[in-house]
Symmetry: C2
Subunit: 239 residues, 2 copies
């Protein structure tokens, strides 16, 4: 790890936290990912070797603990107390980002796979029906693709290939619109009315589905631009 040669606590903390990929790794750990493969899901473009390297550094720094599962020998990564206390910083960064650089989100930042992965961990489990619900998402307009969300207890999962089960709900959506909805920039009602998002299936499931998604952790934070000058030509901000 590269140092700054400063005793200032901001510098010492930045040596650990403000390296490339590190804030995102901490974010994933904070959001409940503990397995190496789970971390990779939330960090699509990180080189494997670099993820290993970062996890080792964070271990050395006392931020992450690596535990070998004795039976399965599959290691688990947990935040230490020190690591867990980075929560408010990561959250603050996200809020700042949502408030100030939201207009900078471009097509190259859209990623349905990542969106699905994010959805999976923001489901209102208590609102789900008892029996499993399989939802198929068809994204179009940009980054086209099909994904499946299997809503079941104890925890939902994402599939890149058709799961074995019959599909209960079909979501047909514009990729940009779904991202905007997720980030709190578009309301369910508007999305449905403008047919940017279409839900097909049994009436009761169609009606309930929007209530199962908790949306992004930052969907409640308004963009600073919104209040003054609504922007027109930008991806996640366009109305």
């Amino acid at each position: 790890m590269k140092t700054y040669g400063q005793f200032c606590p901001v510098a010492k903390a930045a040596e650990i936290f403000a390296e490339r990929w590190t804030p995102l790794i901490i974010r994933e750990l904070l959001m409940g990912c503990h397995r190496f493969s789970e971390l990779e899901m939330g960090l699509p473009h990180i080189p494997r070797s670099l993820l290993v390297q970062r996890l080792r550094s964070l271990e050395d720094a006392g931020v992450v603990e690596r535990k070998q599962d004795p039976n399965g020998r599959k290691p688990r990564y947990n935040l230490t107390t020190a690591g867990a206390e980075l929560f408010s910083i990561v959250k603050g960064l996200g809020e700042w980002g949502q408030r100030w650089v939201n207009h900078d989100v471009g097509l190259e930042d859209l990623d349905p796979g990542l969106l699905m992965w994010d959805m999976r961990r923001r489901i209102h489990m208590d609102r789900l029906p008892q029996q499993r619900v399989v939802v198929q998402f068809d994204f179009h307009g940009a980054r086209e693709g099909t994904y499946w969300l299997v809503l079941e207890h104890p925890e939902p999962s994402v599939c890149l290939q058709p799961p074995g089960f019959d599909v209960d709900l079909f979501i047909n959506t514009d990729t940009i619109a779904m991202h905007r909805l997720w980030m709190g920039k578009l309301k369910w009602a508007d999305a449905l009315r403008q047919e940017l998002i279409e839900i097909e299936g049994p009436t009761s499931l169609v009606r309930d589905f929007p209530n199962w998604l908790a949306l992004s952790l930052f969907s409640g934070v308004a963009s600073a631009l919104e209040t003054h000058r609504p922007s027109a030509d930008q991806v996640l901000s366009q109305s």
Copy 2:
């Protein structure tokens, strides 16, 4: 600027904030440094070209504003509203650092020049006497060197060479001790009693001097280690 390819606001914010040197540049701007040369004082090891490059990126990102002083043509760098709102994040990072990685501060992080520069902006101006007070600091034990602090209105200054004026106070100090004092790890009373810091000069000035320094912004944050296991063999934590 390198991107992550993620729409997540944490990622978008990290692209801007979590680059090498950037948190420290923002810290300096938040602490009231606006001139290029002032920034360089607070960032001793940054290559000039890199500082220029970072300031440009931050300008593009809407975090920093560069203004040409019309008469002097000396540019000033100011944080925009967006930049100013990074305050809580920088402060949070510093508090986390003080709490968790304080034990990691080693000899290579000590820097009397930086310490003097930090002192300069943490003076209780309202407590200073009317007439100028020139203080000479002699550091020894590690990173030996002599610096001068000129306490005067409207603002104090640091000199690496003897200022023109007579010296009023002489501070003779162990380098480590002075850093520990500054970071809240050592009390004035203990430092003086153990003769780690000696103050010489007119009695009234000697008595008042400790009250003029406000100490580091993070001196009030206790190390997490202190409560449980006091560490012995580390620079800023050793008693």
